[in-house]
Symmetry: C2
């Protein structure tokens, strides 16, 4: 590995990171909060460190797969560790491991928390916590839509490779174009939601932090009761913006460039919407018949929770851990499906589920026509065997990581449902789960090793598994055979 170039680019990331901490510092300074010194120290040290790293002289500037993976993984870890300092130094969190958990949860847009009472935190700390979601969301867009395909790993983006516009190419200038289109979509969506939330009577501060949590599909809030504090209008606004944030951001950009047809016929979007509509219908009916007896409330809570879980945001307006088993199973399945590729959402991604469904359909028809040539198709485009294999191995690896994680967490001596739902909630970057990590609870009571494991799972899930695992597997696996 070319460590020089990795360190140099990490330096640039640190410089950017130090600027991104400025707003929180300004809030702390304006309100004269205790955290202001913590922010100031962290920003200064980060800036100096970043400056020196970025000045490293590197002879060989080539970035191959291994360097790319290292930059992304170490970058995510580095900004999480740095971002944890203000939380820890200001005394907002008891141990540094807790602070790390919280910022990794933030930057991976998971939203799982170890803080029992978020309402007593200083404003600047509340802001910084939520702002990590927004930064993380932006980071993941650049990573999956621009960087991964450039490294030859972005399986699903190949589907769009023929269309012009903000899609991945193989060269740096194209990455920049793609990234710019993403900034525009992301910032527009952010501003739009803030406006809609202000219209519903939210304060600018609340509107901002909940918007960060929504468009980043994170889930941190500033009230212990998540979103149930607010009125039904707010529920629907946040619900709809969660759905929008779970859509491939290329499609948002198509709105600006008026490529409506490409949006309308997008197969992933269609399946995504089908999943949401189907789940909302079934859960509404289930809640109406067995629990609420009120169609409006059933629909409102069902819609909010489905969009929150499917987009892996994790906000809640009701304690869905008390819902009937049928509804809970639907939510549990949605946890794994997750949002669309190229969105800020986590999970396995709808496009991969789509490829899998098409593959199954193909295999059934093959029983009767074993010799027919029948490629797996998404829309009118045939998907190569290589991509099908990559999608399958990703899904399988996701399940294996889930099983191993659940086994390890069960050693905490907790029950079955809490074990698997806490791992599902972190690996898929959601936040809350069922049982001990239900929507009214949090991750505070787990041991330090368990919190570190959860942090690792959040990172694994966010960076699409292979990115991280490729760095730690035995080198003989990766040797030319």
């Amino acid at each position: 590995m070319n460590y020089g170039i990795v360190a140099k680019i990490l330096g640039s990331i640190l410089i950017i990171d130090s600027f991104l901490m400025l707003p929180a510092f300004l809030i702390a300074a304006a309100l004269n909060e205790n955290a202001k010194t913590s922010f100031l120290i962290t920003i200064t040290v980060t800036l100096i460190l970043g400056f020196f790293l970025s000045k490293i002289n590197v002879a060989n500037k080539e970035i191959r797969a291994k360097e790319g993976l290292a930059i992304v993984t170490f970058g995510w870890v580095a900004i999480s560790i740095i971002g944890a300092f203000p939380l820890f130094l200001s005394g907002s969190l008891p141990t540094f491991a807790d602070a790390i958990f919280e910022t990794i949860s933030g930057f991976t847009t998971t939203g799982a928390s170890v803080i029992r009472d978020v309402e007593i935190l200083e404003k600047s700390i509340q802001f910084w916590r939520s702002f990590t979601h927004w930064i993380g969301g932006m980071g993941i867009l650049v990573f999956t839509v621009a960087l991964l395909p450039a490294l030859g790993m972005g399986s699903f983006h190949l589907f769009k490779a023929e269309s012009p516009g903000p899609v991945a190419g193989k060269l740096a200038p194209k990455i920049k174009d793609t990234a710019r289109a993403l900034y525009i979509s992301y910032i527009s969506l952010t501003l739009l939601e803030i406006v809609f939330l202000l219209l519903g009577g939210m304060s600018l501060f609340d509107a901002s932090v909940y918007t960060f949590g929504t468009v980043g599909t994170g889930g941190f809030g500033v009230y212990n009761s998540s979103v149930s504090e607010f009125n039904s209008y707010i529920h629907f606004v946040i619900g709809i913006f969660m759905v929008l944030s779970g859509i491939n951001f290329s499609l948002h950009f198509f709105l600006y460039t008026r490529r409506f047809k490409d949006i309308f016929y997008d197969n992933e979007l269609r399946l995504y919407i089908k999943f949401i509509v189907g789940s909302v219908l079934f859960i509404t009916l289930n809640l109406f018949l067995t629990k609420y007896g009120n169609l409006f409330v059933s629909f409102r809570d069902s819609f909010f929770q489905v969009s929150s879980i499917m987009t892996t945001t994790g906000y809640s307006t009701a304690d869905f851990d008390l819902w009937p088993t049928f509804s809970k199973i639907i939510l549990f399945v949605l946890m794994f499906i997750g949002g669309s590729a190229g969105s800020t959402a986590g999970g396995m991604k709808v496009i991969r589920v789509l490829v899998l469904l098409k593959l199954i359909k193909r295999e059934i028809s093959k029983i009767f026509h074993p010799r027919a040539y029948s490629p797996v198709k998404i829309g009118k485009k045939a998907i190569s065997n290589d991509i099908v294999a990559r999608v399958n191995s990703f899904l399988a690896l996701h399940v294996i990581v889930f099983i191993v994680g659940t086994l390890l967490i069960s050693l905490e001596g907790i029950d079955l449902v809490s074990s698997f739902s806490s791992v599902a909630a972190t690996l898929n970057n959601i936040g809350p789960g069922f049982g001990l990590v239900g929507p009214t609870k949090n991750f505070a009571d787990f041991s330090i090793p368990a919190k570190l494991l959860f942090s690792f799972l959040m990172l694994l899930g966010r960076l699409e598994l292979f990115t991280v695992l490729a760095l730690i597997v035995p080198s003989r696996w990766t040797a030319e055979s």
Copy 2:
């Protein structure tokens, strides 16, 4: 579809079936039990029906995929319905749906029961119940090792296609050879276990029924406490024979033909043993440290339960529902892995898991060598993309059926763990699960629709999903495109 040939072959199956009910009738007659009339009526009617069906004149004798699938599926359903008559007519079960559940559970070698007290059943009924496991086990061997490959569907058997001996060919004579080799292995294993159980002090009757349940990997017994009634020697004998019955029966035949090398280097066998050894070790340690405090008992119960669950037999010597979560998760994962292909065990099968693991390994190495040609290999043999795709779609479909089944069962108003473990226990042909279907409980309290759903799941699991689903999917899926 050529209904004529399907009906004609079903006729032959019914004739065989009527003969297979004779031993139970003879027991009933010898002991002068009430059930003797029920058996006599059923045998007579089945024989007559079978005779007339087998005499149908069929012009076109060609059996294509669709006819093959129909014969197997309807055959399994037919013998289950017929086998249910003695249970129902003798009054051993309250409704015909219960009787159907019990015989489908028997013939699919699942071992899930709706009978609360098996000890009060008449001997002939107890014998017939267990004998359905033995018949079902034999049937599944012929189906997966001989018939499926002949229909071009036996993905994993292609791995052995190059070795001479009892492997699948494309022609009827070869099917006969293969089937004969299987009979020899199956009957030898049966006799061997009976001898070993007799040595342990079991009566001939008990030794026979528990052997049927073991070699068929079924799990029906004649005591409400399953196997915990017996001494440790019996635990180990049944445990070891369950492991043996979960091995590909081709390998058993290799023992006779002294092809020891082929056994030793069999990749599926090696992974199967690794799973068993690893699971036994971890669970022994977990039980020893947190529950029993006695290494021998921990090892004995761990070994018995691992071999029982992994081979999808379902016997129990301890209430594993009370074991720590860590051990329960291992058992739950083993439920899905199941035994080896070409054995009487259910589940996804070890060979498919092996292909998946190899695929993941290949994909990780591909990140660094995207252009290298690297096929998935089992041993020294490269696996075609077609087979990898078939394995993947099978595994995915298994998960989807599991999810849909769990959703439907949850409408019974039961908890999460009972919902998914009851579906896992039936789909994977195991028998007991956790919660409401734990080893000390049974399926008696479910509603009739739920029992029918479970019956369908047992059939789906046993007939490797595609067999059944191909018969019921929309015809446009199967049309030449």
